[in-house]
């Protein structure tokens, strides 16, 4: 009896078609290597694959443009773009060198970022800690948060004019809400045990806010800052559409008007590389300042 059962099981295994056996070998779960967790989604290092992907894209781009399959007006070759970037540093484009364009954009982005941090972080903490502040600012932030910056750009211009302050204001507003909202979420994530123990050791409310809540919310604050910088770059071009004389966004827009495609692509690449670099920096700061994140 037992024998026949085991026999038929073996038969079934052998008689399955080779293709499904082949597939089964790939789909079969293998134990995780030591140092990682079994079942962890997306486990493993993907950096090599990423590098290969980027290399393939650049290779394909070089091939189709150098072979003349696409006209430079639509897509210039990467070699031309690189040469153009060199030119841009020396001779510039639309009245300023690339360095000057970059300085103008950096000033706007980091100026706004600085303002958004020194106002948004305290505001987020106050909203998280105080019923009154939450009552006042919740409706305001919830209302303007989903609005695209382009929608309120005209209003900002009417109120603040077309000079530097309206650009900074626009980017600032785009950055403020993610910082406030993340900070507030961070306050909510602070462990009640930590707060209660602090009070039981003689802390006053101010000490709890400054030494427990602000520190405990730091992981989310940093995430908010990272999202905010991303929003900043997306808003930059919109801000520089209005009466700017310098700036990477302005340079790209201006180039597109005159169909100087290689400058357009150069500008896009520069924004991309800088934004990526800054994102890396923020990630590094996260591992440095909140090494406990995800542990415990």
């Amino acid at each position: 009896m037992t024998n026949s059962v085991s026999n038929s099981a073996t038969d079934a295994k052998d008689s399955s078609p080779p293709l499904s056996r082949f597939l089964a070998r790939f789909l079969k779960q293998k134990a995780a290597p030591s140092g990682s967790y079994y079942g962890e989604p997306g486990a493993g290092d993907s950096r090599l694959i990423a590098i290969v992907t980027v290399a393939c894209i650049i290779g394909l781009w070089t091939f189709v443009t150098e072979a003349g399959l696409i006209k430079p007006l639509f897509l210039p070759s990467p070699l031309d773009v690189i040469a153009r970037i060199g030119d841009l540093f020396q001779d510039g484009f639309s009245g300023a060198t690339l360095t000057q364009h970059m300085a103008a954009s950096f000033g706007r982005i980091f100026g706004s970022f600085f303002l958004a941090c020194i106002t948004g972080i305290p505001l987020g903490i106050a909203i998280g800690c105080s019923r009154v502040v939450r009552g006042i600012f919740d409706p305001i932030i919830e209302f303007y948060r989903p609005l695209p910056p382009l929608a309120y750009l005209p209003l900002v211009i009417i109120w603040m004019g077309i000079d530097e302050s309206s650009k900074i204001m626009l980017i600032y507003l785009a950055m403020l809400s993610p910082i406030v909202i993340s900070t507030r979420a961070g306050v909510g994530a602070v462990r009640i045990e930590q707060i209660q123990v602090a009070y039981s050791m003689g802390a006053n409310s101010w000490q709890v806010v400054s030494q427990i809540i602000t520190r405990g919310a730091l992981p989310d604050i940093l995430t908010g800052m990272r999202i905010a910088i991303g929003f900043g770059w997306t808003t930059l071009v919109a801000a520089e559409m209005v009466a700017a004389e310098r700036g990477i966004g302005f340079m790209v827009l201006n180039a597109s008007e005159f169909l100087v495609t290689d400058v357009v692509i150069a500008g896009i690449l520069i924004i991309g590389v800088i934004a990526f670099g800054f994102d890396m920096l923020m990630r590094y700061l996260e591992t440095k300042f909140v090494p406990w994140k995800g542990k415990n």
């Binding site: 462990r191 123990v197 039981s200 050791m201 000490q207 406990w292």
Partner: protein
């Protein structure tokens, strides 16, 4: 002599959506004197944590009041509350240290910074508070871990830091809500002994919540058994198994004592009776 008094306290939690208000504690009277190690036992939901939160000052009673103070200081009672001693408890304070089951350490600080945190809050200068924190870390056997991050420690070591931190602050009273509940049996036994030693040396008031009857009997000078709906203290026992334990240092021997076994049976019967009554509701 320090004393905590709970005077006919009731706690009613407001109704949750669609439910009735919960009477978590009803007419609880309890006096904890200097040197008492009071252990609270009882079925889940009978109001043990609520009682601890009351003493800690995290929640205020719906009815009744609590007082805490020193009867030897001339001029007491500072607050005129009939024949009571001390001040009314109106909020948390450094005179009542709290140890939770977990998650109470600050992960951005290392072990010694966590331990000295209370003194830092009170503005004690660095050299002094470091020395004091080091003293208590040594007491709990963590003298070699000053600079470790808290998330690099095992659960038992984390609880030791929590205990050292509470002691560094030198409170009159230690409130412990299932402090050893998440630990393995061996670690748990060593920390029971540690806590008893601390109690024996410092003579502090302690209020200790547990679900383990063995632990309760081994530690308590006074055991209170609570029962749910409404939460109240139904039984109280004076025990001296902890003295036996401190003398012979052999938990298994104490637990094998026929008196211990009989007491355990008695307590289990009370608790199980409550649980059946709850199920029949």
């Amino acid at each position: 002599m320090n004393r905590l008094q709970i005077h006919d306290v009731s706690v009613v939690y407001p109704a949750a959506q669609g439910g009735a208000p919960v009477t978590a504690l009803s007419d609880v009277k309890l006096t904890i004197n200097q040197g008492d190690l009071v252990v609270a036992l009882g079925a889940s939901g009978c109001g043990k944590t609520t009682l601890l939160n009351l003493i800690a000052g995290f929640i205020s009673p719906t009815d009744g009041y609590l007082t805490l103070g020193d009867s030897n200081i001339p001029g007491y009672p500072r607050v005129s509350l009939g024949r009571d001693i001390g001040d009314e408890v109106t909020g948390p304070g450094a005179d009542r240290g709290v140890v939770f089951q977990k998650h109470a350490l600050l992960p951005w600080l290392n072990v010694i910074e966590n331990t000295e945190f209370g003194l830092k809050l009170q503005g004690v200068d660095k050299e002094k508070r470091r020395a004091r924190a080091a003293e208590f870390l040594k007491l709990v056997g963590l003298e070699d871990f000053h600079n470790h991050k808290t998330y690099q420690l095992s659960g038992g070591m984390q609880q030791r830091v929590g205990i050292a931190r509470a002691l560094t602050n030198d409170p009159q009273m230690l409130l412990l809500d299932e402090p050893l509940g998440a630990l393995d049996a061996l670690t748990r036994e060593s920390l029971q002994e540690l806590l008893l030693d601390v109690w024996n040396e410092t003579n502090k008031m302690m209020f200790f919540i547990t679900h383990s009857v063995d632990e309760a009997l081994l530690l308590a000078t006074r055991l209170i058994v609570m029962s749910p709906r409404p939460g109240r203290i139904t039984h109280e026992f004076e025990l001296d198994f902890n003295r036996q334990f401190l003398q012979c240092r052999d938990a298994r021997k104490v637990k094998a004592n026929p008196e211990f076994i009989a007491m355990k049976e008695k307590v289990l019967e009370i608790i199980h009776g409550d649980e059946e009554a709850t199920e029949n509701d």
